[in-house]
């Protein structure tokens, strides 16, 4: 019964999405207030019904209702409760439902915090979001119904993929989706602005906080995915340039460009058409990512099982969205030329370069990701592009980007006077070069050109981002404090600096060794000695495991004991590696068990990973910067008390 309620709720949600997608847009066109006011009510109603559907699916998982095909395929009686919940979005159908729920939630948030927007504009934004929702609900109902029944019901389920039975992965997809889907808000604002033809700077001001929020969630989502891959896939890498990782990274790059471009549009009314194009691109790349993951056309460790219908549907949807948006863009954008100018030495110039470099980076990633597909279509054979290519290619735009970033932050809008500017930059630049050369030599005993450049760039960004906040703290009484918006920028850039430092040092000084080890034996990796003390059997709730007790010593002194496991999950009979990791602020010591080799020996992968925590820590600081920027008073105006319309909407719901 419960699954049927869920199914029915999903169909009702579709009907409401159609109302939400059609009536307000017609209303805005005809300037009909009654029709426009349908937007918020329909959006709230749609959210409620999608939430009911999501709740029903969760209930089916919690009660282990194996008469539901999706539950039978992705759960199991002895699965811990937390993973029964996260299994809801553990595979295609459920994660699509979650995607729809998040889209509905963003829409309700926009409806709730849109009282400062002109009614017609808000109606258009919500209407466009409704159109997107129609597409996804149809996708779910026609090709990927999570409530399909299984007759006769299974006695027990097939279990959740053991790789997904992990707390990191329980929250990685929701955060990533909140980010991905969040760009649909920026997209909807762009479309609404183009539909209305009224593209003044207010549009950028309204869009900015939403875009920054989406970007913040996407940053956290990607960071969690990287962290999960590091400890759960078992092999200690933090980024693999896998097509699906790239699929989340491209919208991030374009989203980052969009945030910066919006700043120019809001402050100076420049780059309007470019900003619109970025908003369209960021969301289109999110859809492309969905297509790549769910169609199975690209070889990836992440790919869901292949289904051509789904691939075709999402490709058609992508085509409609992109082509529709671009036609509208081609029609409206030419009228957007701006009269304002700026001098060569100005913040505008640096933000322009930022945008160019980020777009180049995203294009290179896109090229590398799609090249295998294109070459195969041209009958050029089946190829793959390895991480080394991405690593080289990506550095080309990134090195100038990080160097310019430090300068751009301290350049004034419109035009910057040269002399104070050079005076400000001189000392940090010298400091960065000196530390860049010395730090690797002093702490790690060797260096190279790229390494010195990486460290210098990181120090450069860190110092430059600290200048403004420090000055604000030490300001004289009565002087204006730093705005939240500027503080957010500084913090996000500080995070970027920490990230660059982590990436540089980890890749340069990481030591990795695969060895055969029997209890009592030890191996040396860097300055550390890893001794396998014993092997023992361990029982988990739904797995049995072999655990190695490994003692780590440095110069004879005890550092830590780690307990890597090799688990066999009982239902799927599949093996899983749980790495044993000793975490310190400046290094990880990582041990993973490989295979049983006979004679009591196991293959073991041991790694020394200096500064790797800075990669994820830097990403968290970047996201924090986004949060601070959103809390700026400028934007709080849009989040004022609910208007009459939205409060009645809540009551009807």
């Amino acid at each position: 019964m419960i699954p049927e309620i869920g199914q029915f709720a999903l169909i009702l949600a579709l009907s409401l999405a159609i109302c939400q997608g059609v009536i307000p847009l017609i209303g805005a066109y005809r300037n009909d207030v009654a029709m426009m006011s349908v937007a918020k009510t329909a959006a709230t109603g749609q959210f409620v019904f999608v939430a009911v559907a999501f709740g029903c699916l969760t209930w089916s998982f919690l009660t282990s209702d194996f008469s539901v095909l999706y539950v039978a395929n992705h759960s199991q009686l002895s699965l811990p409760t937390i993973y029964k919940i996260s299994a809801v979005w553990g595979a295609h159908e459920g994660s699509l439902l979650m995607w729809i729920l998040i889209l509905a939630a963003w829409t309700v948030a926009v409806a709730r915090f849109s009282s400062a927007l002109p009614e017609a504009f808000a109606a258009r934004v919500i209407g466009v979001l409704g159109l997107l929702s129609i597409g996804f609900l149809l996708f779910a109902l026609l090709t990927s119904n999570p409530f399909d029944r299984l007759t006769p019901p299974a006695a027990d389920g097939a279990d959740l993929n053991p790789l997904l039975q992990d707390p990191g992965l329980a929250i990685h997809p929701p955060l990533l989706y909140i980010g991905y889907v969040g760009f649909s808000v920026a997209f909807a604002f762009a479309i609404a602005a183009m539909l209305s033809g009224d593209l003044d700077q207010r549009w950028a001001k309204w869009t900015r906080p939403w875009t920054t929020l989406a970007w913040m969630f996407l940053t956290l989502g990607i960071m969690l995915g990287s962290w999960w891959a590091y400890y759960e896939l078992g092999w200690g890498g933090w980024w693999f340039w896998d097509p699906v990782e790239n699929a989340s990274f491209m919208p991030w790059l374009i989203g980052t460009a969009l945030i910066h471009s919006l700043a120019v549009t809001e402050r100076r009314g420049l780059f309007k058409s470019w900003t619109l194009l970025l908003a369209i691109t960021a969301f289109s790349l999110s859809l492309l990512g969905t297509f790549l993951v769910r169609s199975g056309i690209i070889v990836s460790v992440h790919a869901f099982a292949t289904d051509p219908t789904r691939g075709f549907f999402i490709l058609a949807f992508l085509a409609i969205v992109v082509i529709g948006a671009l036609i509208l863009y081609a029609w409206r954008a030419p009228s957007l030329d701006s009269e304002v100018g700026f001098s060569l030495l100005s913040r505008e110039t640096f933000l322009l370069l930022n945008n160019v470099l980020l777009v180049v980076a995203a294009t290179l990633v896109l090229m590398g990701t799609l090249a295998p597909l294109v070459i195969e279509l041209l009958n050029g054979g089946k190829i793959s592009i390895g991480p080394p290519w991405f690593e080289i290619a990506f550095l080309v735009p990134m090195i100038p980007l990080v160097l310019l970033l430090g300068v751009g932050m301290h350049t004034a809008w419109r035009t910057q006077d040269k002399r104070p500017w050079v005076a400000l930059l001189r000392i940090p630049a010298i400091a960065a070069i000196v530390i860049g050369v010395l730090l690797p030599l002093l702490f790690y005993g060797r260096t190279s050109l790229l390494l010195a450049l990486g460290v210098a760039a990181a120090v450069w960004i860190i110092v430059m981002s600290l200048i403004q906040p420090v000055r604000s703290m030490r300001r004289k009484e009565g002087a204006a404090a730093i705005t939240r918006s500027a503080l957010g920028m500084s913090v996000a850039h500080l995070g970027m600096g920490l990230f660059v430092l982590g990436v540089t040092l980890t890749s340069a000084f990481n030591i990795e060794s695969d060895r055969a080890l029997t209890p009592g034996e030890s191996i040396d990796v860097g300055a550390y000695e890893f001794e396998m003390r014993e092997l023992r059997d361990v029982q988990g709730p739904n797995y049995s495991a072999v655990e190695a007790i490994i003692e780590i010593r440095k110069g004879g002194e005890f550092v830590a004991t780690v307990r890597p496991q090799k688990r066999q999950y009982l239902v799927q009979k599949s093996w899983m590696t749980e790495a044993g990791i000793h975490v310190a602020w400046n290094k990880d010591l990582f041990v993973a068990l490989g295979d049983q080799l006979g004679n009591g020996a196991w293959s073991v992968r041991v790694q020394y990973k200096p500064m790797i925590r800075f990669i994820w820590f830097g990403a968290i600081i970047m996201a924090l910067g986004g949060l601070i920027a959103v809390s700026d008073r400028r934007y709080r105006l849009t989040a004022s008390k609910p208007s009459r319309v939205s409060s009645t909407a809540t009551e009807t719901a």
């Binding site: 993929n161 790789l163 896939l233 078992g234 092999w235 780059f271 058409s273 470019w274 194009l277 199975g296 056309i297 070889v299 990836s300 460790v301 992440h302 790919a303 869901f304 099982a305 292949t306 030329d337 322009l352 945008n355 160019v356 470099l357 777009v359 180049v360 294009t363 290179l364 090229m367 590398g368 090249a371 054979g381 089946k382 190829i383 793959s384 592009i385 390895g386 080394p388 290519w389 080289i392 290619a393 080309v396 735009p397 695969d514 060895r515 055969a516 029997t518 599949s574 093996w575 899983m576 590696t577 993973a592 490989g594 295979d595 080799l597 006979g598 004679n599 020996a601 293959s603 073991v604």
Partner: protein, 150 residues
């Protein structure tokens, strides 16, 4: 428009700059039958894929040296590998390996690819198997003997 122009120029420069690296890092997938027939890129790494032949995995006790055979249901290729195997490596299952052809026709793998999900098979492997299996539901033949490299 200035931004679009600059972006296009930037992309062109970056593309030119990285095109060479692109060629060096491109790795071809070669079907087992083609490898056996001698039709594979010499002097560079390539990828192979197929099913791990049942009972073919041999390991020297206590050592990380490993040998197994991979089949595309037409021909078989011996593979050697030293290192840690991915969790989903199993006899009778699909596998993808990176490496090059060494002496005596043994494929020396430097990387064995993991999969995310055991129901998922890399599309190129599925294609190459489908060519040689008329009835895709037929059980695996053990130790395919006749091999007809095209």
């Amino acid at each position: 428009m200035l931004a679009v122009g600059l972006a296009v120029a930037g992309i062109a420069i970056a593309a030119a700059f990285t095109l060479r690296a692109f060629q060096d890092n491109m790795m071809f997938f070669v079907e087992i039958s083609d490898v056996v027939a001698g039709d594979y890129p010499k002097q560079r790494n390539f990828r192979i894929g197929g099913l791990v032949v049942d009972g073919s995995v041999e390991r020297e006790e206590g050592s990380m040296d490993l040998r197994f055979r991979v089949t595309d249901m037409n021909c078989e290729l011996p593979v050697s590998y030293v290192g840690v195997l991915p969790d989903l490596f199993r006899e009778g299952q699909g596998v993808v390996a990176h490496g090059r052809l060494g002496e005596e026709g043994v494929f020396v793998a430097d990387k064995i690819l993991a999969k995310h999900d055991e129901n998922y098979m890399a599309p190129e492997v599925a294609d190459s198997l489908a060519k040689h299996v008329e009835d895709k539901t037929a059980p695996l033949r053990e130790g395919v003997t006749e091999c007809n490299p095209q």
